[in-house]
Symmetry: C2
Subunit: 319 residues, 2 copies
């Protein structure tokens, strides 16, 4: 089976953990151990988030004031290098020596007129106190929104329209490689018409694409049978955070769409899972990195399937 596994930022860096290289490597190593059996049984493409990391790079860059801060497309590309390398190395350590693991940089086209540019919503970087957020907003012109009790920087998150470099991903899979690509939702680009020399060019765009939406598009475009959206909770819950919370075991995409989920966290994952299933008739699953192999075999997480209808709840429940 061809599987796209979208690793959430929270699967790579636990909430509240410092953004250190050591913490990231420890989490990536654990993720690689969980994903290795999937790579051995299936064609595996891994995408990943970059919210904490791209925010860190933006913060570092703005601390060094001798050059203009680097634009987000370049910082996105840097995070594809940073996270892709550690994933590639740790996965390589878990897999038989002859299994190639490759990381490809991925450009993804967005619409420069996407309404997201007028309403930044994607949280990046660390959590701040309200006071520090006000200070940074003043200094750097950044936008902040509440994240729990804290504040977090938000940037534009346009929809992915077209992924470049899909054929190389498929060529690598055909050769038996595990592919890391579309990291951080891909590097956002757009076409512009330039007068000299006349013609259309791709240019970078200041944004961070939602990695779940990008992964859903990627999975559909390369003909994946399954999209696994991997995070730090074991399933999608109804009435999350209340005494009545119940894990959904299996659901159809329409029935899932009738429920409301948090815009910043489970919302985009549910939207991406529904989009993939509705477009392709394949399966999507949402669950925890610790269960990676069981997610893919349908034994854990919330399975979204065109053949299912109303949400069926998990019996018992580990949440």
């Amino acid at each position: 089976m061809r599987v796209v596994a979208a690793l959430g930022g929270n699967a790579l860096l636990q909430r509240g953990q410092a953004l250190s290289a050591a913490n990231q490597r420890r989490n990536v190593r654990a993720a690689a151990r969980s994903l290795a059996p999937v790579a051995q049984d299936h064609e595996l493409v891994i995408s990943h988030g970059n919210g904490p990391q791209v925010g860190l790079l933006a913060l570092q860059g703005s601390a060094y004031t001798e050059v203009e801060p680097y634009p987000l497309d370049i910082l996105d590309a840097e995070t594809e290098g940073m996270i892709g390398y550690v994933l590639q190395q740790e996965l390589g350590n878990e897999l038989p020596f002859q299994t190639p693991v490759v990381t490809l940089l991925t450009q993804i086209e967005v619409d420069p007129d996407d309404p997201a540019f007028k309403d930044p919503s994607k949280p990046i970087g660390p959590l701040y106190t309200a006071e520090r957020a006000r200070q940074l907003a003043g200094e750097k012109g950044w936008t902040f929104k509440a994240d729990g009790q804290s504040m977090r920087r938000v940037v534009a998150s346009p929809l992915p329209r077209r992924i470049y470099g899909l054929k190389p991903v498929e060529w690598m899979l055909d050769h038996g490689a595990v592919v890391v690509c579309a990291g951080g939702g891909g590097i956002p680009v757009a076409h512009v018409d330039e007068p000299v020399p006349a013609g259309r060019r791709l240019v970078g765009v200041e944004a961070v694409i939602d990695k779940d939406r990008a992964s859903a598009l990627l999975a559909a475009e390369i003909g994946a049978e399954m999209l696994a959206i991997i995070t730090d909770v074991d399933a999608v819950y109804l009435d999350w955070g209340t005494p009545q919370q119940r894990a959904i075991r299996r659901t159809g995409p329409d029935a899932l769409g009738a429920q409301a989920f948090a815009a910043g966290s489970m919302g985009p994952k549910v939207a991406a899972a529904r989009e993939f299933v509705q477009r392709t008739g394949g399966h999507a699953v949402i669950g925890s990195i610790a269960d990676a192999a069981r997610l893919v075999s349908g034994q854990a997480g919330t399975l979204v399937s065109a053949q299912a209808g109303e949400p069926e709840m998990a019996s018992g429940g580990s949440g």
Copy 2:
């Protein structure tokens, strides 16, 4: 013909230019224009330096003090993302739409006992005054050496021993793709034996591998017929910087080895060219990015060839 083009840091960022994203993009765009005809006539693999960029990232990281500075292997990987993306995008803009341009992250094994770890020699980052260098050396424990009238940070630059991920590079070439890889000399890694779980693992190493030596090894391992070492001067000169300076047009590797060149700049390029020619019997050429296509066709630069003997000088001379 299969060609590896190694782009020097000075071909991507002119000496003394600020390390801004805009300056880098302008230079990369010019480099892409020069390389496009080579990509259309040959199988092309592009590697690149990262000295200024990895130094910038180290500087930025150390300015943000809430986490430990990131190790050089991760910063090297970030520069493969940063530079690879812009190269990939700008080359894509110059080439026919159907030509795939891919960037692969590349791990390169080094020997942890390489003497380079005891004698840091690779200059990274910007130029400093002697006073600022002393200050940074005290604050961060960095090592500095003179670079012309200024000071520059130096880090360990061990020899590349083994390149991982060569097969994926060849698969992409077989599919007609232009490949960007081994950026910044590759990401330095080494094997360690770990007790739990028992076995050998690859881990990152704090270093910056010389990109010319890495490119020579890459070119030999993938069976390239030509290694083009591309910089900001149009040839290798004898008596460089004196009124008697003369550009070498063509030379054998042994005769070239009898000459002395600057350790920080032309020295490693000459060493890499000789190594490639002696090992493979292929051709190496050293020259300017502006002449890229003419370098590869043997009409410009300094050609190092097993069939040549004593250095033949260029008639006239553009230097």
